[in-house]
Symmetry: C2
Subunit: 598 residues, 2 copies
């Protein structure tokens, strides 16, 4: 059987940074060459970054991507790397263009190019466009209708792009039954429990096709998404033979014994399941036998470590890729801002994290001592700006009480943070968790301000779990746990009026999070939730709170997706929406229920 050394470049490109991304790929191929690789595979849209969204409609951007991939092929050859087959994702366009009404402008295609001998020798565009969850690819791309088989050192290699692997039925993967290796460039964002499903899928497709499979994923953050890497290779029996780490760039190199190409000469082009198959021979001669090296098989992370890793990478890349160096967050001594502070320290280094404590007349003593303890444990800088004088000035000018007065305090804090941000260039972090965001338990333009919201997809109960996990992890490493125990133990409070507790307005968080999981993530109806055992009045209340808070979520900053359905592009609901889950028929006046003031 011919041998092949395959290198999977699990890289972290930046959307739109074509030059920097090309340089990153060049460096990856150089490293792979130094390790003797014959075939290097980069992720989906590696040249442009991913997802590019409506940048796809910009002809100058498509042109620049095409130019970049051609230039990269030439550069590789100029560097003496022209005899390595390099497969990379990039943006191209369909030719001739598709002219159907509403078809994506300019016919952009999510494509991969094969670079060899200084040229783009063949290309293939994604067949099955990802158009659910946070994916809008039917909006942005025209599907491909070709399958490119390349022959590398006597082995036939087929390509499937991300979603092409997930779809059942006739696909490039099935066609690859005739290939010795199926390579799969991906831009597959993280969510909990997904890495197990990926391995299971890859194994199944390998067994179906009787064909080894090399799956290479992006790594790094892009707005709401975190690509977790975890690139992997399975053999034709579906057995795992190599796996890269999660959340870090890695060049995963693996030696494979693969079947010799059955067709030594190119057979005539033919059709398969409506797709045109082309075969390109790069090098028909199998390699002389060489010594096999052991590949890395990284252990997958445990669930909490994985979630925490996603939050750190999401924040770090949002900050760095947008040109910031430091972040600012309001530190209340509560568990949410404390966890965000620790994540920020882990992502950026404590020297780049500024905590601001804004005590008011209702702040308890422990809110300041806990914030100070966090600062001392982590090394982040803590500034204190009491808000009483500003509150007094507003009270002189505007008559407020009740909720309006509570919100006023939260907004004055936000004005302080934004002033410091504007003056010193820190990115402000919003510290709201998913449970709060779900029920609207936050002050718009108050605690909700910020450029990024690191825990917006983390339910409150998971916030506590992550805090305990992070402390335990510190102990495991022989370090001081960063989070004060009192912060974990105390009952949550917004401290906007004397003795206020979250449970004054909301059910206990373990109960709330269970209802939210059913209502928000599973789309369960009120009767179904009651049948699960939840109190009927509570179910109606929670569902109504969720529905009515949509306007607040629309103005909330982006944050990393870790769940199967985050608030953001994953859940698109109308703001104007009179539908309410009820156990009985709604009264006729349902159309004009009052939205609570922000």
């Amino acid at each position: 059987m011919p041998q092949l050394r395959v290198a999977l470049g699990q890289i972290n490109p930046t959307v739109g940074a074509l030059e920097a991304n090309s340089a990153l790929i060049l460096g990856t191929v150089e490293s792979a060459a130094a390790q003797g690789a014959h075939l290097v595979v980069l992720p989906e849209m590696a040249i442009t970054g991913y997802p590019i969204e409506d940048l796809a409609f910009r002809p100058s951007f498509v042109d620049a991507s095409r130019t970049a991939v051609t230039a990269l092929a030439e550069r590789l050859a100029a560097e003496g790397l022209g005899d390595i087959a390099v497969v990379t994702g990039y943006l191209d366009r369909a030719e001739p263009p598709v002219t159907r009404v509403g078809s994506p402008k300019g016919s952009p295609q999510n494509s991969v190019a094969v670079l060899y001998g200084g040229q783009v020798v063949t290309r293939q565009a994604k067949h099955h466009l990802w158009n659910y969850g946070v994916g809008d690819e039917i909006r942005n791309f025209v599907p491909g209708d070709t399958i490119s088989i390349i022959q590398v050192r006597g082995v036939d290699v087929a390509i499937a792009i991300c979603e092409d692997l997930w779809q059942e039925g006739p696909s490039a993967a099935a066609d690859a039954a005739e290939a010795g290796l199926l390579i799969v460039p991906n831009g597959s964002p993280y969510e909990r429990d997904k890495s197990d499903r990926r391995l299971e899928l890859c194994s199944r497709r390998a067994r179906d096709g009787v064909c080894a499979l090399a799956y290479v994923n992006l790594v790094g953050g892009q707005d709401e998404l975190v690509f977790d890497g975890g690139s992997l290779v399975v053999d034709a029996e579906g057995q795992l033979v190599a796996r890269a780490r999660q959340f870090e760039p890695e060049l995963l190199v693996v030696d494979l014994d693969l079947p010799a190409a059955t067709a030594p000469m190119p057979p005539p082009d033919r059709e398969f399941a409506g797709l045109k198959v082309t075969r390109t021979i790069l090098d028909p001669e199998p390699l002389p036998t060489y010594e096999v090296e052991a590949a890395n098989i990284a252990e997958p992370s445990a669930d909490l470590a994985e979630v925490y890793g996603a939050l750190v990478v999401g924040l770090r890349d949002y900050v760095r890729k947008n040109g910031f160096e430091s972040v600012l967050l309001g530190l209340s001594g509560g568990i949410d801002s404390t966890l965000v502070g620790v994540i920020a320290c882990d992502a950026l280094g404590a020297a780049n994290v500024l905590g601001v404590s804004n005590p008011s007349e209702w702040s308890t003593g422990h809110s300041q001592t806990d914030a100070a303890a966090l600062a001392s444990r982590t090394g982040l800088r803590l500034d204190t700006v009491p808000i009483a004088p500003m509150v007094d000035a507003f009270r002189e000018a505007v008559d407020v009480d009740g909720l309006a007065e509570e919100n006023l305090q939260a907004r004055i804090r936000a004005v302080v943070w934004m002033a410091l941000s504007n003056q010193h260039g820190h990115l402000v972090l919003a510290c709201g968790n998913k449970s709060e965001l779900a029920v609207g338990y936050s002050t718009i333009y108050g605690d909700a301000v910020g450029g990024y919201a690191p825990i917006k997809d983390v339910p409150k109960t998971l916030v506590w779990e992550l805090a305990r996990w992070r402390n335990a992890e510190a102990l495991r490493r022989g370090e001081q746990p960063p989070i004060p125990e009192t912060t974990i133990a105390k009952p949550p409070s917004a401290e906007l009026r004397p003795g206020q507790l979250d449970t004054d307005s909301l059910p206990p968080y373990d109960l709330l999070d269970d209802i939210l999981d059913g209502y928000v993530e599973q789309d369960r109806s009120a009767p179904e939730l009651v049948a699960q055992g939840f109190d009927a009045a509570l179910v109606e209340k929670v569902a109504a709170l969720v529905d009515r808070a949509e306007y607040k979520r629309r103005q909330y900053p982006p944050g990393p997706k870790i769940s199967a359905r985050n608030f953001g592009r994953d859940r698109r609901l109308p703001i104007t929406n009179a539908w309410r889950e009820r156990l009985v028929e709604p009264p006729p006046s349902a159309a004009h229920e009052r939205m609570p003031p922000p």
Copy 2:
């Protein structure tokens, strides 16, 4: 030739308000019956409102829609209206469900039902799903695969749902060559110049099919969208025979002479272009000849009247459908807030509009006198809350200068507005225009706060045009022009530092808007814009400002779409985006350009 009196119910349902919408349809059919109509057609998704977005994934909502349409059929019969054929849009599901990976959960379908004799006698689901611009229907719906022909009083009537009419090639419209009438329920949102395109399309399809065509559209606002009505009927030669007004509900009744059904008995079901055709005979007997009445042929509005109408309806429906009664806006005496104030008075009545003037040390005298003049001309209430004491309190607490100090003032104003909103229940309006939003010339959490942004899709030059148009319209009606001439005439300024003018930071607005039209709406490249005659440095500057302001736009409130591409779901760009339009190749550091602080 058989006669038929067709009534098009141009109604304004509310998303999610199934009971209220059903009641609205019932009332519409009662009115149509009182006018002797034999066939009543309601718009797309009239039972649920439109667009429902991810509400489609909620099984309880689909069930409720199915129940509602059945209940409506029964109710119509109980009211003695069972012998009128009623065609209405609603939400249903495909049976059996589609199980492909990523196919919409629960297989929801954008459907129409035919109600007759107390039953849903047949249904049809949309074939071509609208998935460009602001439409995400492939995400939300499974396409239909049937065509339902109904025979009404001896006339064969076919149905096409909105996008099914726009798509070229085999379609229900083409099939309708065998029908005497094609009815088209629509949810077609307003944009400039669209009503002309609709008439042209309807005429062309009628001529293609040699078949009269009745096009019924929704009216009213739903978040970003404004449905403008303008329902119309063309005869088989494509001649306009009836047209409803824009932006108002109307029951458009028209008498048509139509060809007799060629097949008096139901022919066997057959296939057409992959669609299964069914034929349902409701009433095979042509009507006795009756006296024809003249139908309304409303004149279409002129461009500026149409835009202004969309802004008024968009605001009015957002406020009312979300249960608010009154709005609050900061009045600076400038053209933007003044126009928004007048729109609000026209939408809600001056008694429901509160203007707040927040003079600072840099405010000019005319900013207050112009705001007062607006209040006196329109009757809106004006409150004045000077901000100097609050500014002083913040200056004591935080050291700021330059841009940070300018933004501080804008944010203090916003805190005042939000306090008044929370205390008194007014919805806050953001007064930014499209040009500002494009280049990020606004203060996030300052002038950008609000629940709705009435002119966010209106470029600055169009703001002036609308102001002049509104004043001229007042004169035409013999009323006092609402907008002070000095407000229209003075150079724009944010008044955040002494003598500040917008042109200190931006090119003149007529020039800016031309560049923005090319860059934002047409996706033109920098070299193309320079070839159009714009200064190269200015093009690069404006394009970079637009790209870097994406994070601000994400947190901006919704507002009515009037252009072919609004900021919102119509233009989805990454925040993290290193791509910059340039005339020369970007330097290697392009990936990490600094984002300006908010």
